[in-house]
């Protein structure tokens, strides 16, 4: 599915924690081998990240701990403040939002209705005080749904779609297995029919068979709904399976970007080569 404009156009995206000084960028990064500026002590979590995400596409962001990949997701999801750069989100109807400077009210609206986020740890993404159905209802209510039956029907539909037995709609999330909690997160993320789905290490820590089912589910959803997705992972297998294009990040910078199979079979950057060679 191709359109003429990207859903997300990111240029020079940066996030620095701390006072920041003019040398921060030059003294950190891949060449310097560190995120911490030796002069002012600021942590350069992300610097000069640029990419486009097209409608219906899955972009993988790969890297190890400290690479800045989760920070990028947090910045896009408006959970953190951009220090510098631009990230333009384009809605289906053509409205554009500059995420770097958006106000709180617009940020809430985007998070509630246009974005879906799935965390590695379900405790970050689920409300454990309400039922599974209540978790999905919460998202629908945020986007203005006021019919009880419509909410109920959609919740049942989403549970079925994510292969959670619909009979468990009124159970508490803490009664679910880890894999099922992840699937509930996915159901909740999809509730308002978002245009952008952000997946942060969603299968890390899960059993292999559970992982497989969730990855299959993500692919099916992508096929059916054509949602654009950013998939953050450190797992080469996940990125090979899901993403058409991939960014490789290290020390807050993008060191390589390309088609996923090219990154894995013909890596250009020394770090990418090392990563690919390290795969089990």
């Amino acid at each position: 599915m191709v359109a003429d404009r990207p859903v997300l156009a990111v240029r020079g995206l940066s996030r620095i924690h701390g006072p920041a000084c003019p040398s921060c960028r030059d003294l950190t990064g891949d060449a310097a081998g560190t995120n911490v500026c030796p002069r002012c002590g600021s942590v350069v979590a992300v610097a000069d990240v640029a990419f486009d995400l097209w409608p219906g596409e899955i972009l993988g962001i790969m890297g190890e701990s400290g690479s800045g990949k989760s920070s990028v997701i947090r910045l896009i999801h408006l959970d953190d403040q951009v220090t510098a750069g631009s990230a333009v989100f384009r809605e289906h109807d053509g409205t554009e939002h500059e995420l770097a400077t958006t106000g709180e009210e617009t940020a809430r609206r985007l998070r509630d209705t246009r974005f879906g986020m799935v965390h590695q740890n379900p405790h970050l993404g689920l409300n454990y005080l309400v039922s599974a159905g209540g978790n999905i209802a919460e998202r629908l209510l945020c986007s203005g749904e006021r019919s009880f039956q419509a909410i109920r029907d959609r919740a049942l539909g989403l549970l079925t779609r994510t292969e959670i037995p619909p009979g468990r709609i009124d159970h508490q999330p803490r009664q679910f297995s880890g894999g099922m909690q992840q699937r509930l997160q996915i159901a909740r993320a999809l509730a308002p029919r978002p245009e952008l789905l952000l997946l942060d290490e969603v299968t890390t820590g899960l059993d292999l068979s559970v992982q497989a089912r969730i990855l299959d589910l993500i692919l099916e959803i992508q096929r059916e709904l054509g949602v654009a997705m950013l998939v953050v992972t450190h797992d080469l297998g996940v990125v090979r399976l899901l993403a058409g294009r991939t960014l490789v990040m290290r020390h807050g910078r993008v060191v390589e970007s390309g088609l996923t199979d090219q990154i894995l079979e013909d890596p250009q950057h020394p770090y990418t080569q090392q990563l690919v060679m390290s795969a089990l």
């Binding site: 058409g244 079979e265 013909d266 090392q274």
Partner: protein
């Protein structure tokens, strides 16, 4: 480093080949892909090594014609295909895909454009079937059409048609191909490559390790694709197949390994 474009008249051992080539010579074949000066070297940073893979290749692939790449092992035949498909990044050269909307140099186009070309224009069939695990055969074959926006039912119908042409029994259609024999998997592979009617089909030893019957089915499918106007770039391990199917033959030689990295 030398490339030779040999005229098919040299391989007149197969009468059908000359009939076919005479037939294709009568129409002006439209060029689909023009490769020029293609070279690829692998740089392994950690071992401090530079390994040349393709030492300069140039040729044209036209609609309804099959161009065969021949040469010794290590000459970079598979690498050329991978460069065109953007799995490898070439160091120099151009790979221009000609289309109704204009020309696109695959060597320099954006990733997004490359993905688009893969989805719509080019199919790449190797001797290994790489597919999503846990997906039934029909869905594996239908996947390229679904990705282009076709409904699942229409895509499955087209997929079943392709599988029927390649004589894959219906009882296997909903089974994931992981447990199939080599011949069966290759037929699934080729069916998937043809289902979305690409303009350019690239084949990397499609009949290697196949039994006679499967190989014949594959050859028949290739003939049909040619007749339908698909441009084909192929590597065959069997010179008889080259003789039988190729309209143009391109010879590649092993690149020289530099003395120092």
């Amino acid at each position: 480093m030398s490339e030779t474009c040999t005229e098919p008249s040299r391989t007149t051992s197969s009468p059908s080949a000359s009939l076919e080539t005479r037939h294709s010579k009568l129409e002006t074949p439209a060029p689909v892909l023009t490769v020029a000066g293609l070279a690829k070297t692998f740089t392994l940073h950690h071992q401090n090594k530079s390994i040349p893979s393709v030492a300069g290749a140039g040729f044209t692939v036209s609609a309804g014609r099959l161009t065969a790449l021949i040469g010794p092992s290590g000459a970079g035949k598979s690498s050329v295909l991978k460069c065109i498909y953007r799995t490898y990044l070439p160091q120099t050269g151009s790979m221009v895909l000609h289309g109704a909307d204009g020309d696109l140099d695959l060597a320099t186009c954006s990733e997004h454009a490359a993905l688009r070309v893969r989805a719509r224009e080019i199919a790449y069939v190797t001797q290994f079937l790489h597919c999503l695990p846990r997906q039934g055969t029909v869905d594996v074959v239908a996947a390229p059409l679904v990705a282009l926006g076709s409904t699942r039912d229409a895509a499955r119908a087209a997929a079943e048609e392709r599988l029927r042409e390649l004589d894959l029994p219906a009882r296997l259609w909903d089974v994931p191909p992981a447990t199939f024999s080599g011949g069966e998997r290759q037929r699934v592979n080729l069916a998937r490559g043809l289902v979305h009617r690409p303009r350019l089909l690239m084949l990397d030893e499609p009949t290697a390790s196949l039994d006679r019957r499967s190989a014949d089915l594959v050859v028949a499918a290739i003939h049909a694709a040619k007749a339908a106007g698909v441009a084909i770039l192929a590597i065959f391990h069997d010179p008889d197949l080259v003789a039988a199917l190729a309209d143009d033959v391109v010879q590649l030689t092993r690149p020289e390994v530099p003395c120092a990295a």
